[in-house]
């Protein structure tokens, strides 16, 4: 792959003394969806959270290797983590809207950057809600509490909130685990639409989801990358027997 937007090279990761990632090498293609799959505890979420340095919040973690965003090492000492997180957004497993209005949720990221102009805020909030396929459902009640939305709507709100700050990359950590199939399907469609504007990396324990909505898939097991290839190859004719066992459900 030439010109990957993120290059993960020889990454090792420790929680204290316990090593969670071993010599991981992955390239993330721009404007594509890359899925990290694998059984529980394989390190996929850990790797995802390295990309926007959310693992920094846990004490005792250590990383070696290089994670480069457009060529720049994100763990370099001079890197401003705040800036990094504006460019690499994240959507979490359990939707976590702020206990504020729908409008204030989406505007939060913009306001903390200092944007106060009312017209511009309204414009950008609307744009984000439209991109997240939520505008039609909430345009008449932007000032209602976000907590009154359904689970699927809340998660789309979190996506809109992340999009509002115009990141380059959106990380999604099992975004549909807490949702019913209909809400899940809506978000999977949304992910395919978002590819035009963003690069997406999604962690999922549901491999059918990875098959449905990703372009590239990386299969992890016990902290190591087992296979990384185009999704259609992984699911029709994987190279590695372990991968084949996993996708056919014959694992363990």
């Amino acid at each position: 792959m030439d010109n990957p937007v993120i290059q993960i090279a020889d990454v090792n990761f420790w929680y204290g003394t316990k090593q969670a990632l071993f010599d991981v090498n992955v390239a993330i293609a721009p404007h594509q969806t890359t899925a990290f799959i694998g059984p529980s505890g394989c390190g996929k979420s850990t790797l995802l959270r390295c990309l926007n340095r959310m693992n920094d919040l846990i004490t005792g973690t250590r990383v070696t290797g290089r994670i480069a965003l457009n060529g720049d090492d994100v763990y370099a000492p001079e890197v401003d983590v705040i800036e990094l997180r504006k460019r690499v957004g994240m959507v979490f497993q359990k939707s976590n809207p702020f206990p504020k209005s729908i409008f204030d949720n989406v505007a939060y990221g913009l306001r903390i950057q200092g944007l106060t102009d009312k017209t511009e805020l309204e414009g950008r909030v609307m744009k984000s809600l439209k991109k997240a396929a939520l505008w039609d459902e909430v345009q008449d009640r932007l000032h209602d509490s976000a907590l009154m939305l359904s689970g699927g709507q809340q998660q789309r709100l979190c996506i809109a909130r992340a999009i509002a700050v115009e990141p380059e990359i959106i990380l999604m950590d099992e975004p549909c685990s807490a949702l019913d199939p209909t809400a899940t399907a809506k978000i999977e469609e949304l992910i395919q639409d978002l590819e035009t504007d963003y690069t997406i990396v999604i962690v999922t324990h549901n491999m059918q989801q990875a098959a449905r909505c990703s372009d590239y898939t990386a299969f992890f097991y016990l902290g190591r990358l087992v296979e990384f290839d185009a999704t259609n190859k992984i699911f029709t004719n994987p190279t590695n027997k372990q991968t084949e066992d996993y996708v056919t459900g014959r694992f363990g």
Binding site: E189, Q192, R212, F235, T236
Partner: protein, 220 residues
């Protein structure tokens, strides 16, 4: 509501329609090569067969991929399976066109045995069946598909008729045997094309009704 998956299904369907028009074209051209005694036309059919084969491979690959990646259910699943089966039938139609082209080339080297009456009739019927059944596939016209199955009787009847006629030719004049046998071969190819159309029709019924009507009487 249109999904990304719907677009992919449409693309697969478009591949199949392209294949069907090429297959039909091959048969028509091969017949022309025979009736108009034109070797160049016959040759073009031989040259074009690889395109049909490649399309079938492309369709199969794409359908397998879509089944693996999209986990289709119900009609979506039947759709992809039926597309693969129809592609196989169309590929064999193409092979029959090649057979006709070969026989045309051989027959063109000798004087014409008799005026072509039944063969063009059979060809019109068989090619018509292919065209009609693909139309039924696109628009879900199940009754039309069933009608195609019934039309095959006429094609079979014509083949039997030609067989009898040419056999009497051969008995009367042994010098006609080679040419007559070739013509019987052409009739047989056209009859096989009709059978392929019937198979496609059965798949169309399966797609839209979910019922497997193969190996039964046509009014099932």
């Amino acid at each position: 509501m249109e999904l990304h998956f719907d677009q992919e299904l449409t693309q697969a369907k478009d591949l199949l329609l392209r294949m069907s028009s090429l297959a039909e074209q091959a048969v028509v051209t091969a017949l022309k090569g025979l009736v108009q005694r034109d070797d160049a036309l016959a040759q073009s059919v031989l040259d074009g067969d690889s395109q049909l084969d490649n399309l079938q491979k492309e369709i199969d690959e794409r359908c397998v991929e879509l089944i693996a990646l999209r986990q289709p259910k119900a009609r979506d699943l039947r759709f992809l399976i039926v597309i693969m089966k129809i592609a196989a039938e169309l590929e064999r139609v193409g092979d029959q066109a090649v057979n006709i082209a070969h026989r045309a080339t051989a027959l063109n080297r000798e004087p014409q045995l008799k005026p072509f009456v039944d063969i063009p009739r059979m060809s019109d019927l068989s090619c018509g069946m292919i065209r009609t059944v693909l139309d039924a596939f696109v628009y879900g016209k199940i009754d039309v598909a069933r009608q195609v199955i019934r039309n095959d009787d006429e094609v079979d009847r014509l083949e039997t008729q030609m067989h009898r006629e040419l056999t009497s030719f051969m008995i009367e004049d042994p010098h006609t045997i080679t040419r007559a046998l070739s013509l019987i071969g052409v009739a047989h190819s056209l009859e096989r094309i009709g059978d392929h159309a019937v198979n496609i029709a059965e798949e169309v019924v399966y797609l839209y009704e979910g019922r497997d009507i193969r190996h039964q009487s046509p009014n099932a």
